[in-house]
């Protein structure tokens, strides 16, 4: 039961927490110094942008997908939900 609760907590808040910490770290890295610190900061701050594009592009592509793809997609999602 305990582990199950932990599991649902992480499933819900894991990514938001990860992105929060990563963003703050990226913002702080660049103030520590220049050179390598700037590079690390850019890489770190790109992570939230990457995840936004990765998931967010579904919003744009939804117009373009054909009828068949849509059905396949929704059945995949339904599967995901059942798990």
């Amino acid at each position: 039961m305990q582990t199950n609760q932990q599991h649902t907590f992480l499933k819900l808040w894991g990514m938001p927490l990860f992105l929060f910490v990563i963003t703050i770290a990226g913002l702080l890295l660049a103030i520590i110094g220049t050179g390598i610190w700037h590079g690390l900061s850019w890489i770190t701050l790109s992570i939230p942008v990457y995840f936004t594009v990765k998931h967010g592009k579904a919003f744009l592509s939804s117009h373009a997908v054909g009828e068949g793809d849509q059905k396949q997609k929704s059945s995949q999602k339904a599967k995901g939900r059942r798990q």
Binding site: G14, L19, T23, A30, I32, W42, Q70, S74
Partner: protein, 391 residues
């Protein structure tokens, strides 16, 4: 979470957002060009460079450069002097106005060559595109009240973010991160986008929002410093009239300040009577010379008549907080790639605001349609019952 609790948070989210959204949109949009202020300014105006007349020639005394600037704009007084050796070597930036107390809108800016005391640039004292963006962003062209009002909108924005995070839990409980339901209704698709972008930009928007709110308090904070620590530091000058006439050497004041804090560099000088100084002193603001310590600012107060060091203290915490928060608002401390990331995250935030507005409209429309349906139903029921009665 109980349905009633969720409902309460929903109302907090709705109302805090509704009040601040249009102002936040304005801030996000005017902020976009401001991120690249330096670069756009360079693009709009010719690049200027201060080249030494001969290889390795020394800078002229600050007094000579200042005098040349005062001759360029006769009848004005100097308010501030800035240096930026990293980006603009050999240049001295001067702010002049009719009086030390003149509002910043009336300031004139001069860029001087420190090798030759020639005027490199004297832009006309008028609003160009970037300045309009700047004043809209900072105070909606409405002075200190406008600034404080925007600070209050920032506080509402914080509340709307907190309530948004609270609502994220129950909404996303059964779904995977980043899910966007495209096959259901248009409203759900927008809601999912709103949730995704909202949670991704949360940390960045919080940092930029909080540092922005802190910045809006700069004027009252400076007032408090003038009435508090600064007044204490210049207590012996209390009954003297404001320093006027010929001032002591600026160059000597710079040298005195450097001698008092040898491990620091001069950032800027505030002349007597300005917001950043007393009525009797050059305030020479010293900063640390490493990326970390460059946020530590210490003003050396130099008597503008005698040139003697009166006092030098660490600034109070509330002014430190303002100076330290500034780079986190501007995003100008990590090179061009960071500025690009700043713009991208700003664009994401704009989408969060617009999608939030769309969701509010769509919900209202849906509810109005529902109400109509219920009314029509009730109407037909009444009609049928009337008919029944008649029968």
């Amino acid at each position: 979470m109980r349905a009633q609790t969720i409902n309460r948070w929903f109302h907090i989210h709705k109302w805090t957002s509704l009040v601040c959204t249009l102002f936040l949109l304005m801030l996000c949009i005017t902020g976009l060009p401001l991120v690249f202020y330096e670069e756009i300014d360079h693009f709009l105006h010719d690049e200027i460079e201060a080249t030494p007349p001969t290889e390795g020639a020394p800078h002229l005394s600050a007094d000579v450069v200042l005098r040349a600037a005062m001759e360029e704009l006769p009848g004005k007084v100097a308010k501030y002097a800035f240096w930026d050796e990293d980006h603009h070597p050999g240049q001295l930036f001067l702010t002049l106005a009719d009086s030390a107390e003149a509002p910043i809108e009336a300031d004139h800016y001069l860029t001087m060559n420190q090798y030759t005391a020639h005027v490199l640039e004297a832009p006309p004292n008028e609003m160009d595109f970037m300045l309009v963006m700047y004043y809209l962003h900072v105070e909606m062209l409405a002075g200190i009240p406008g600034k404080l009002f925007l600070g209050f909108m920032g506080v509402l924005f914080m509340l709307s973010m907190i309530s948004g995070v609270v609502l994220y839990g129950p909404i996303m409980k059964r779904f995977d991160f980043g899910m966007i339901r495209t096959e259901k209704s248009r409203r759900l698709r927008w809601l999912d986008l709103h949730n995704l972008l909202g949670i991704v930009t949360l940390a960045w928007a919080s940092v930029v929002g909080i540092s922005g709110v802190i910045n809006t308090l700069a004027d009252p904070a400076l007032e408090a410093w003038r009435d508090g620590q600064l007044a204490e530091m210049v207590a012996t000058y209390k009954d003297q009239p404001k320093a006027s006439g010929e001032f002591a050497s600026l160059q000597a004041a710079l040298d005195t300040a450097r001698a008092a804090a040898p491990e620091m560099e001069v950032s800027f000088v505030a002349f007597p009577g300005t917001l950043y100084s007393s009525n009797h002193h050059y305030a020479v603001y010293m900063v640390g010379n490493t990326p970390l310590t460059s946020r530590i600012i210490k003003p050396a107060l130099i008597d503008a008549k005698t040139g003697q060091l009166t006092d030098m203290r660490d600034m109070p915490w509330y002014l430190k907080a303002i100076f330290i928060s500034q780079p986190f608002h501007f995003g100008d401390y990590g090179g061009i790639p960071m500025k690009i990331l700043w713009v991208v995250l700003d664009l994401f935030t704009i989408i969060v605001l617009i999608s939030g507005l769309y969701l509010w409209f769509a919900r209202r429309k849906a509810r109005a349609a529902q109400l109509k349906r219920v009314l029509r139903q009730a109407e037909s029921l009444t009609l049928s019952s009337l008919q029944e009665d008649a029968n």
